[in-house]
């Protein structure tokens, strides 16, 4: 496909009018039209502006690449279709960049996410069984749910990015990319943790042959049950409640606050889980009122805002730069930084002092 056709098809895919592109790029409508019709060609710097707008590398325009990306599952899609397409394209580009960094740094995965994969369960009992098996695989002796993100990133190589967008979370599984999740930075940490466990269920039960990108009500319900069971396993939660409660028949607000922090879940998710385990049958209104009361009593919970990029992604980008596998300007682009900012770190001079030289006959 020629460059002009790619420009035209990308604009249509994103649902932009010529005027909207003009507003976003400051390139005249007549020029954009000429570029798309092949009457005139853009300069490379103009093509870069289009590449940034559509979240594509510049090489996309010179090679035979598909416009499409794998289907993605959303937890609460934005109402605006353009925003959905935009964030999906951005997420896919970040994942492709991550794969490039892994390839360039000869990164080998010691663990395989496929170990976690299961076929889609038939009922809630099977969902709970998958949650228990997954928890077992995570070697959960203490509170692994507190470090779920680290385990998924470091042990199972799930690509997890954070971004501000209208929606909760997105996930997809693809043979070249592997498992990937994007979480919403504007959600609080414990909400993101629940979203992460929810998306983990989708990835574990991912069906590559499925074409529809809409998750069913059943899939969403099962993902919530999985997240709840996985983050707050019944036996451990019962133990924690017993350890923290002075009265066997009551669970104090203080215990709820302590456990919500310990398990890194929201008050509401914890109360709902307790409701289920102890068969208390609190109404939705009662749960809401209880949450409001607890919030008034205890200090605001600490909510750390995560970086857009996974730690390994950042480390690999810097490593690729230091070892001459990518250029400074391209590294800056991958890290969403200005090249001047990256240069201020002065990465090369550290090489002299910090690197340990291993003699040739050592290994």
């Amino acid at each position: 496909m020629t460059i002009n056709k790619k420009l035209n098809q990308l604009r249509k895919l994103f649902g932009f009018s010529l005027q909207e592109i003009c507003n976003k790029t400051r390139i005249a409508v007549s020029s954009i039209s000429d570029f798309e019709n092949g009457k005139r060609e853009p300069s490379l710097s103009q093509l870069q502006i289009f590449a940034d707008l559509y979240h594509k590398p510049i090489s996309f325009f010179f090679n035979n690449n598909s416009l499409e990306h794998p289907r993605m599952l959303w937890r609460k899609k934005p109402d605006n279709k353009q925003e959905q397409i935009d964030i999906e394209a951005k997420f896919y580009q970040l994942c492709k960049q991550y794969v490039n960094l892994e390839t360039w740094s000869n990164f080998t995965k010691k663990n395989d996410f496929k170990k976690l994969k299961r076929s889609f369960p038939n009922n809630e009992i099977e969902v709970r069984k998958i949650a228990k098996e997954t928890e077992y695989l995570f070697h959960s002796t203490a509170t692994p749910w507190k470090s779920l993100l680290e385990i998924l990133e470091n042990d199972y190589y799930v690509k997890i990015f954070h971004c501000n967008f209208d929606g909760s979370a997105i996930s997809f599984y693809d043979d070249t990319i592997g498992p990937a999740i994007m979480l919403n930075t504007s959600n609080v940490g414990w909400r993101r943790n629940f979203d992460l466990a929810h998306e983990l269920f989708h990835l574990i039960t991912w069906d590559s042959n499925k074409e529809n990108d809409e998750s069913t009500e059943k899939e969403e319900k099962f993902a919530d049950i999985f997240a709840s069971e996985f983050l707050m396993p019944e036996i451990k939660l019962r133990q924690s409640i017993e350890e923290n409660s002075q009265d066997e028949r009551k669970i104090s607000f203080s215990t709820i606050d302590t456990l919500a922090n310990q398990y890194d879940v929201s008050y509401e998710a914890l109360i709902r889980r307790i409701n289920k385990i102890y068969n208390i049958k609190l109404s939705n209104e009662k749960i809401k009122n209880t949450v409001d009361e607890i919030k008034k009593l205890f200090p605001k919970r600490d909510n750390k805002i995560p970086s857009m990029f996974p730690e390994r992604y950042e480390r690999q980008a810097i490593d690729c730069l230091r070892t001459g596998k990518m250029s400074t300007a391209q590294c800056a682009r991958y890290l969403n930084k200005n090249v001047s900012e990256l240069m201020a770190i002065n990465l090369y001079d550290g090489e002299k002092e910090n690197d340990i030289k291993i003699p040739n006959n050592f290994m």
Partner: protein, 169 residues
């Protein structure tokens, strides 16, 4: 220091470093400095040793014709991409690709790429174009204290990676 008839294709890091060292004006009066069209949008400021931010406006220098801007036509870029090893393509920024495409299409003896990126030197070494590379150190005034420049701008750094490119990528 080399002379004015040499055309130096500067990448973004070199431009920023020249501003940081307060040598930009001196260098552009000594050499025919050329930048790529994409670099003009990328290089907007530099940080001094105290991390204070200072603006850079390359357009001003292009308009006053103190430096040149190249804009490689897409048809030429297309040919360059077809010849260029695909595994390198995403490792470079469009600004660097544009400089390399320009160099590959104009193998003029006076044309040299001044870079601070090992990957650029490796590519030039691999393509047997070592003579078209130059380090920032080599264009500095003779009396300039060399201790002030960082490793990646030195002649030694350039030669190490040219050699790496010659041998194996």
């Amino acid at each position: 220091m080399t002379s004015k008839y040499q055309i130096i294709l500067c990448d973004s890091c070199v431009v920023i470093e020249l501003f940081r060292l307060n040598l930009w004006e001196q260098i552009i009066s000594s050499f025919e400095i050329t930048v790529s069209s994409t670099i003009v949008n990328e290089v907007t400021f530099y940080r001094d040793n105290q991390q204070n931010k200072h603006p850079i406006n390359l357009r001003k220098y292009i308009i006053s014709k103190k430096i040149n801007k190249i804009s490689v036509p897409l048809s030429m870029m297309q040919i360059f991409y077809q010849k260029f090893d695909p595994s390198f393509q995403d490792r470079l920024d469009p600004g660097e690709l544009e400089l390399l495409a320009h160099l590959f299409n104009n193998k003029n003896d006076n044309l040299k790429i001044c870079s601070a990126d090992s990957i650029v030197f490796k590519i030039l070494g691999k393509e047997c174009m070592s003579e078209h590379s130059i380090s920032l150190e080599e264009i500095l005034p003779k009396n300039f204290p060399k201790k002030q420049i960082h490793t990646q701008f030195t002649k030694k750094f350039k030669e190490k990676y040219l050699q790496d490119g010659l041998q194996f990528f």
